[in-house]
Point group: C2
Chain length 451, copies 2
């Protein structure tokens, strides 16, 4: 449905842009749901992106669109905008998006924009800018409803309708704080309307409130929201004072981003999603990762070079390098993927090192025996050389066993050392497997073939 | 925080189980948040899992825990339970979870359980069982609030407090339907309390409601909820009649599951998350996937075998097989990962085939030239053979170029043919790259070295 909706909207807008039908474009842009616009922008040329953006009249819509665009598209569009225009736009964004947007700008420009903003708005944003990227503090919204515990349900409902709270973006819960603004309870809107109107919050609030701290990693916050099915989770500072809420819509973005990051890191494509149109940038991101694989290849050259005499005598040996490397490489990726994703989703406990590794090892041995024997039989049939067949079989078995071992062990160890395990897969694991496979295979063959 | 919380709870429970302190266990289990229990279960032995579950008294808690457990743990636990016990448990689950649970049971057992359930409950569950797995119908909840458009805000609020709607799990929105139960509008709870009490729904409801159909794939539903920041999305049947809602907490589960599935499929570990403790099952899942890689290896044997004479004359040639295969394999994984994830997140449009593939191709060529020249120079220095150095350089260049091409082209084509592109990566892409790399390398070398 979305794909179809995107296609129709994009095609209509492209057609109107070609015709220069500005009046109609302005009308369409004002009628369409803001969330439908970002994907249209990424299909337009850079100059059309700027032109279309100028036609958005509503500053809130502008802010929403900018905050949802890929960084390179956003940076392209804002080149045209004045400092005053940027300031107005950020004032109309939820403050967490405003912060993310300001972080994208060069320092001097960000400072200039902050200087132009209304004081209350810029103070709020500057307050959030203090928190490190990817922490609860950086994705929280500082607007929430916090009331005292003796307030009766009826007055709470009246407060909700007051001007003070009209700005609160997603008021799912009413938080209850004590005189020091420390969080002591929570009530859902639902509970408010089902209790008798005179009941004070104290009597129906939930006291065991789960909260997160401003410096907690956003991935951990996401896990908490997902586990307890929260719509929002309160954020407290080091003095247990409530300072904001993280809402479920931002958590969805975090979960998608983190999954994408993990996938890309495993493939050694860095943390950046390379749907930037820049080939140079993509190349620069991938180059160093491939270097690990290159170094592995160089080591393999020396290993095989060391066995050159054997190779001269039995040139058949070279034929089996690809299959031995391939089988090891593939099962290694399987093991490391299972482990990396298991750790990320919390299904694998990092402390269970040996049970995880020994399971993978067992699978590696079983599959290694299966494919080793299979290949050994084929080689025996084709070349009628027992020693060669056995060498090749052992080569596959040892390569697959080592691969399962390395592929599961490395991410577990990395995770224990608090290094992101997703980085441990990809070129790094593959290279070690390549080197070990080739080494064991040639060593075994040299011994068995008596060369 | 969660990890620490899990650890303490798990250790406490394990200690008490060793001591057989049932009374204390029962108390802890009743006090702890239901969402904290599933991860404890997966750390216990099978018999302790069953014992601990018996100690949960609250049927709602039982249902919640069972629905969050891994399938093998859940199946182990329910072996002990009577049909009546199962029926009571499902009655206390949200109906979408009840459906998922029933799908796990063997047909005859599921039928028996349905027979024991209260009629209204079993009808609701049976209604949902009709929908195919992984569709909006299978994850929706049939409880929602739907009112007529002439009802004033005040009466709407009173209805919310009425007995009829007390069951509704997450009443974020009030839906407005016409006389044929067709969806015509929506209002948030928020809007209800800020308009004057006598305003009828018609005057403040949003008319442009985005809804999904019962047969829509859950991944598409997730994209819609994520794009529009919904807390729930209404589900309509083929006659546009509203039949349920999908809530954001289920969407979070869908997003996490789909990301995991994609990652595992790319590595050729099937759709199942193999944190089952069964080595046999894991082996069976991986075996066929490795067969693609095995076949690729066999083909490589014949290719290299075909060039055996060259290899006998210049045994050096074998030294460079690993580096050429490795560089191709790794850049191939990078390209396919970028494309597969790009398609999954909607950042890559499947119709832009050539722009995506040509970008990857350009990156492959640039990186291929870089690493080809680098390796060529090293080989020239070490072996003083120009033709060998050039052959190796061309080998790396062509392998990386082909890999980037195949790695991006295949998932795009699969996606266009409506085959899951995640399946196209892993062993399948790697094998084709291995074969092509070896073939081109030996062909070029044979010509250049004049053998």
């Amino acid at each position: 449905m979305l794909v179809e909706r995107n296609r129709i909207l994009t095609e209509t807008i492209q057609r109107l842009m070609r015709r220069g039908a500005e009046a109609r474009l302005t009308k369409i842009v004002s009628k369409v749901h803001a969330a439908d616009l970002p994907s249209v922008f990424s299909s337009l040329s850079a100059s059309n992106q700027r032109k279309l953006f100028q036609l958005i009249r509503d500053p809130e819509k502008k802010g929403f669109v900018i905050s949802e665009l890929d960084e390179d598209v956003a940076l392209n569009i804002i080149e045209d905008l004045s400092i005053a225009g940027l300031a107005e736009m950020i004032e109309n964004m939820p403050s967490d998006d405003g912060v993310a947007f300001l972080r994208m700008l060069p320092q001097h420009k960000a400072d200039a924009v902050l200087g132009m903003m209304e004081k209350t708005e810029s103070e709020e944003v500057e307050g959030l800018l203090r928190y490190k990227d990817d922490t609860a503090g950086s994705i929280m919204i500082p607007d929430f409803i916090a009331l005292q515990e003796n307030m009766p349900a009826k007055s709470v409902i009246e407060s909700l309708q007051s001007k003070e709270y009209l700005d609160v973006e997603m008021p799912f819960y009413v938080y209850v704080v004590d005189e020091y603004e420390r969080l002591v309870g929570v009530s859902s809107l639902r509970q408010l309307v089902v209790v008798p109107p005179s009941t004070p919050l104290r009597e129906f609030m939930v006291r065991d409130v789960i909260s997160v701290t401003t410096d907690m990693d956003q991935e951990e916050v996401a896990r908490i929201v997902a586990r307890y099915n929260f719509l929002a989770v309160p954020v407290v500072d080091e003095e247990a004072k409530m300072v904001g809420v993280v809402t479920v819509d931002d958590i969805i973005d975090v979960i998608r981003e983190e999954a994408t990051e993990d996938i890309l890191k495993m493939a050694g494509v860095g943390e950046e999603f390379v749907e930037t149109k820049s080939i140079v940038r993509s190349t620069r991101i991938r180059l160093p990762w491939l270097f690990a694989s290159f170094l592995g290849g160089i080591v393999a050259i020396f290993i095989i070079g060391y066995f050159e005499e054997s190779l001269k005598q039995v040139s058949y040996l070279a034929l089996f390098i690809p299959v031995i490397m391939g089988m090891g490489g593939n099962i290694g990726i399987q093991s490391s993927t299972i482990v990396v994703r298991g750790i990320a989703t919390g299904r694998i406990n990092v402390r269970h090192l040996w049970s995880v590794v020994s399971k993978e090892l067992a699978i590696g041995i079983i599959l290694g025996i299966f494919y080793g024997v299979l290949l050994g039989c084929l080689v025996r049939l084709q070349y009628s050389m027992d020693a060669l067949a056995i060498s090749v079989a052992i080569g596959v078995l040892s390569s697959m066993t080592v691969a399962a071992l390395v592929g599961s062990f490395m991410p577990m160890i990395f995770a224990r050392m608090h290094i992101d395990p997703a980085v441990a897969t990809g070129p790094f694991v593959t290279s070690s497997i390549d080197i070990l496979s080739v080494l064991i295979y040639f060593q075994v063959a040299t011994i068995l073939l008596g060369i």
